[in-house]
Symmetry: C2
């Protein structure tokens, strides 16, 4: 089954569009995993403890959200031992029934992009979807589209990022570059029938920061068939009301077509018991999203 | 010593501006390393054989060129075992006196870019410089500039890539996006005195495809203080004459300020004896570059 339909089914099953970002900032891990940030501890052990934390997180969120989004940088910082834990966490999340959106933001010329597509979408344990950076243009995205077509995988292409400095580049030109990127995403998603789901959406999505509320409706319009990934909720400042314009509505007025990402505000929610704090923060995020989406209907 | 001066010294020592790209396409490795592409062989062993090949390549090119450029994708395709070999190859190249330009093209928001900067420029074995993708703007580059300042490292920022499809995005707007990126690179490079070498260049360089000969002089003008990395020589079609406009000239008219990358045309040069073929292809590239640069003086 293609990614668009697997995503739609998973969101329907969970009844909410939250996605939990797995960004294991070593400095912020709960005290019981402090070994992970201790330079005196061998790297293999540090990485192991980071993986232990994330495996518990996966267990806590499985069944409650459709997907998790591991962030590659925080694994790579521990070298190949960290990448070994990436593989462990991807496998654990998939085994727990979660979709895995690998946040890798890779980009390269076609012959090299082919190797990245294989690394993340074809070799086991593989991701259900990954993020990619489109600065190198159409031919650099093609190998990823091929892998998605062959494996029922998905992409989220950077269109408008959540950080304050993104506008410097992404608003360049008239129309702004981000609009050009959005139109490319729409085109890539509709370029092969296998990528389009029965749900009506394609498997090629876009990253649009939830921190730019005034731009979200605009991108939703430019991207009628693209699933959106909306980062910026929580620690980066966006709230539940901000994400509402990123959603499509089905015939019954129910919201669909977007995932809302929170990472630090869930993973490192303050509290004496990190497990309880994480669960409570996730419950609160889910409730806030439901309420804002109901109000916005 | 900062990257700009270490680079200038290394190029002067070798007497040529060639850089060998370490792109171990598994399908193209010499027959004696065929295990690396055999899916029936355990991944750890496959990766080991890829690393064996590259360690030999490092030995063959050390002392003859200033730098090598390992391409991360071809390591990542073998998972954490591949990344373990990345570490081995980076360490071996540095031990052999080569500068290492890690071709990783990473990009992310600042808090995540910080982890990438640490992974590639701070944790051992670290690269002397890496390639980065600037689509996320100023604040996403800042953590890399900080790491370069603290560690005497360098960056090569994607400005105009060598692939045919790059123009679709990089020529967008008026002025074209690539010009905006070039001006940013110049500004980033001059933003901290520690980044600027006694050689007069900064440690923040730009990737400009040698396949766009007509644009090279233009970017050289926009980037008076940036070292250039010119990919596209050889397999991608650019020749020695094409790269001449990418160089600066010193007071004596000697060319400096650019590295010319060839990967596949050196690594997989045709011939019964791959070591001899590689050496001959590198000799030919060096001779062609010297001759074209002398003629262009």
């Amino acid at each position: 089954m293609n990614y668009a339909d697997r995503l739609a089914a998973a969101v329907r099953r969970c009844g909410n569009p939250a996605l939990v970002g797995l960004d294991p900032h070593l400095d912020r891990l709960p005290a019981e995993f402090a070994e992970a940030r201790d330079p005196a501890v061998p790297r293999a052990r540090r990485a192991q403890r980071m993986g232990d934390f994330l495996e518990e997180v996966v267990g806590l969120v499985a069944g409650r959200v459709a997907a998790v989004k591991p962030q590659s940088a925080f694994f790579e910082v521990l070298g190949h031992h960290g990448v070994e834990q990436w593989e462990r966490v991807v496998a654990a999340a998939r085994a727990a029934g979660l979709l895995v959106v690998g946040d890798v933001k890779r980009s390269d010329i076609a012959s090299t992009a082919r190797a990245y597509a294989r690394a993340f979408l074809e070799e086991e344990p593989r991701c259900d979807a990954i993020t990619v950076n489109p600065l190198l243009g159409d031919d650099s995205i093609e190998p990823f589209l091929e892998a998605c077509t062959a494996r029922g995988a998905g992409l989220y292409v950077l269109v408008r990022t959540s950080n304050p400095g993104g506008a410097g580049i992404q608003h360049h030109g008239d129309p702004p570059l981000a609009d050009v990127l959005a139109r490319s995403v729409e085109r890539w998603g509709m370029s092969r029938p296998e990528l389009v789901g029965e749900c009506g959406l394609s498997s090629v999505g876009a990253v649009v920061g939830a921190t730019h509320r005034d731009e979200l409706a605009h991108f939703r319009e430019l991207l009628p068939h693209a699933p959106l990934l909306l980062p910026g909720y929580g620690a980066q400042g966006a709230g539940a009301e901000d994400v509402v314009p990123g959603f499509l509505r089905d015939a019954e007025g129910r919201p669909h077509g977007a995932l809302v990402n929170a990472s630090r505000s869930i993973l490192f929610a303050p509290g004496d018991n990190w497990r309880a704090a994480l669960s409570a923060a996730l419950d609160e995020m889910i409730a806030s999203l439901r309420s804002a989406l109901d109000a916005g209907a």
